[in-house]
Amino acid sequence: MTPSLDEAEAARRLRDTIAAQFGRSLHIRTLDTGSCAVCEQEIRLLSAPHYDLHRLGFFFTPAPRHADLLLVTGPMVRAFDVAARKTYEAMPGPKVVVATGACALGGVYPKDPFVHGDVGQVLPVDVWIPGCPPSPLALLHGLGVAVGRLAEKTPGLTFIADGGQG
């Protein structure tokens, strides 16, 4: 179904509002759904002086009630279903979900009785950040994309080293 003009206009206005509200102050709650903790190490490095996430207006919060953005790592183990749902529901809207790392994007663990395989099976993901682990630079770019401050580059990349499509 293609959205009508009014709906497209409403969606654009909502995106602008989110960018305006989140653009300079965004609180992040991290959610580890069974990752190997290397993604967490990279996320932790964002607060270090070299990257200094706080200068850009991003802050980590321990409470989902105070969070605007849910940074999800890991392949979504099924044992975590209830906790993941409660965390998501506890966040006030509008909220953004970011899937972080190859596990969360479904590249490492296949769907089986223990894991869902990727975060999109359980939560509505807005931004996907590839990488194993995504470096702090990649995470910063992903957060910028999530709040509409940076443009995404991936649609323009071909991963062909010898010339364009053909």
Binding site: A102, L105, G107, W128, S135, A138
Partner: protein, 112 residues
């Protein structure tokens, strides 16, 4: 008085924008592969698909399907086919839809 504090007072700037300057550490990052499509043959691609420990690579007829989101930048495809794979150097890969991360690379090495 620490130097950075004096410098901040003098310039009136306490923080920098992102990215303030290119980050040196970016050159050391492992990045997903980029493929030389004219050197790719079906046999070579099948070897690369077998070497991939995850689900990032697969072959559909004359197309190599590369799922960037599933790639862990381990470099095993480059070990299997060093002549056809280079490092892309791209790491800022965040995307708002999962499907734009799946890239199709034509296999052109079999063409006469």
């Amino acid at each position: 008085m620490p130097l950075w504090f004096a410098r901040g007072l003098r310039r009136g700037v306490v923080t920098t924008r992102y990215p303030a300057r290119p980050d040196d550490s970016a050159a050391w990052l492992p990045t997903p592969p980029a493929f030389r499509s004219r050197r790719l043959t079906r046999d070579l691609v099948d070897r690369m698909v077998a070497a991939c420990p995850g689900t990032a690579l697969s072959r559909r007829d004359d197309t190599l399907v590369f799922d960037v989101g599933a790639c862990t930048s381990c470099g095993r495809c480059a070990e299997a086919a060093p002549e056809a794979v280079a490092s892309s150097g791209e790491f800022e890969l965040a995307a708002t839809s999962r499907s734009v991360l799946i890239k199709e690379i034509p296999i052109r090495g079999d063409e006469p």
